[in-house]
């Protein structure tokens, strides 16, 4: 090791090269493929194919509705759960929190298999309720990712602010609506981004629950199967733009600490 001289900042070079080659370059390639045809000529056809077809626009709409409903259901379930966990004085509440987010570490395809068996038990033929089942499946898959950031931000809440509000005459509902809720917005935003984007793309959940309607992810899947890289790239680019917009909007509010998929480990 002696004689090896380097400054610490040079250590970033391998990682920087890796990021350029395998993170940035693939995105550049996606943009190139999105605006060329099979022969490599520049074209807007892929773009027009997407926006002129009622099929693909319907897919976009269906993706949005499924994603928004899933996110709302997750929020409605996760907020009270995180609130109770973070604000109550249950002993060992950390262990209880672990119980709620532990499924995060079990392979999601296996969990969806388990859910599918239970749904078939209740519904008989599960393909009769495709939208409902997809919402249930995605909620089942993504709930821990909503609970964790909400818990983190509610946990950090300064108790003296709540006491001050009630001392100044606010009733419990007002304290919640005017103090707790606004202060937990970063957690809500983090949770929403963790659920909203995956539920637009995770078509495996739909496939496994026999929902044959396409979402944005399924389009990429089907273009992949038919070796149509150009149209697949266009869908990827559209998703990238949606993700970019969501990230821009949410970065202003988001809670840096809460935005980590495995923060608890």
């Amino acid at each position: 090791m002696k004689g090896l001289r380097f400054s610490r900042s040079q250590l970033c070079i391998p990682y920087a090269v890796f990021l350029i080659l395998f993170v940035i370059a693939p995105l550049v390639v996606i943009v190139y493929y999105a605006f060329t045809n099979g022969e490599g000529q520049f074209t807007f056809d892929n773009f027009i194919n997407f926006f002129a077809s009622t099929n693909t626009l319907g897919t976009l709409l269906y993706s949005f509705s499924l994603a928004i409903v899933t996110t709302l259901v997750c929020l409605v379930i996760a907020y009270p759960t995180a609130y109770i966990l973070a604000r109550s004085n249950i002993r060992k509440k950390y262990v209880l929190l672990l119980l709620f987010i532990l499924p995060m570490w079990i392979n999601f395809t296996l969990r969806i298999t388990a859910l599918k068996e239970i749904l078939s038990l209740f519904e008989g033929n599960i393909s009769s309720y495709p939208f409902l089942n997809s919402v249930i499946g995605m909620t089942y898959d993504f709930l821990p990712f909503m609970i964790l950031p909400l818990y983190t931000s509610l946990q950090k809440l300064d108790n003296s602010l709540l006491e001050a509000a009630s001392d100044l005459g606010a009733n419990k509902l007002t304290v919640f609506l005017r103090v707790t809720l606004p202060l937990s917005v970063p957690g809500i935003i983090s949770g929403v981004t963790m659920v909203l984007l995956p539920s637009m793309t995770n078509y495996v959940v739909l496939d496994m629950l026999y929902n044959s309607t396409y979402i944005m992810g399924s389009l990429i899947g089907s273009y992949f199967s038919s070796y149509d890289w150009n149209n697949g790239s266009m869908i990827s680019l559209i998703l990238l733009i949606i993700i970019f917009i969501v990230t821009l909007v949410t970065n202003r509010f988001s809670d840096k600490d809460a935005n980590n998929r495995g923060a608890i480990l």
Binding site: L11, I84, T113, T201
Partner: protein
Amino acid sequence: MKKAFNIIWLALILIFIYVPILILAVYSFTDASMVGGNISSFSFENYLNLFKNEELRNMIFGTLVLAFVCAAISTVLATVGAIGTFYSKKLPKTLINTANQVPVVNADIVTGFSICILLIVIMRVGKDTFIPLGIGHVVLTAPFVYLSILPKLKQMDNSLYEAALDLGATPAQALFKVVIPQLIPGILSGFMLAVTLSLDDYFITTYTKPSTFDTISTYVVNATKGSQTESKTALWALSTLIFLVVIAVVIVMNVLASKRGKEKK
């Protein structure tokens, strides 16, 4: 009254989360061919099949090797990268941090598809070499390792490294004997996170894997489409085993963490 409501709410959510997994666990110990079907006897057959059936055995082994090898590569790459970036000037730091966020916020399906296009379609790297698959999993996991090391670097006392140099250590010695030991908790949790992310991945794997290779995720998804009862019921056993392993790991990690906490006091 309020407390009772809280407990009932938490219990209901836990039931929603765990009933499917637990019912599958119960059925995994029987000879039933479907959940809710006839149970004529108690049986370990499903568990034995996981080891006897070559296809299943290879698939489980392959998934684990892929996860641990890629997590190890990611951990080395991202640890060195995080140290280097932390001491870099503002511009490279901002650029690397931003590029690092890309796979974190991006949809896995777009990451997978873009790597597939760059490596397989354009550079013609054979899927059978496992190189696209390996790179895909490193791209998925390294940014999360990077993010779990960053806070430890911020907490670190900068003067220790300088002191080591003043006392005659080479930069490499100072790095290995002073800097890295202080980052161990971050490196470990980053590695664990990388393993779980890789084990859970479906999309990057599908778009980059050799056609004869399956991970747990891709195998499960294919199995739900087919009707092979033997492998279907063996997957119940796999799900139960993974559930038990996750519980064991979480317990061990928390016992270790609380021990560390006590030693510090």
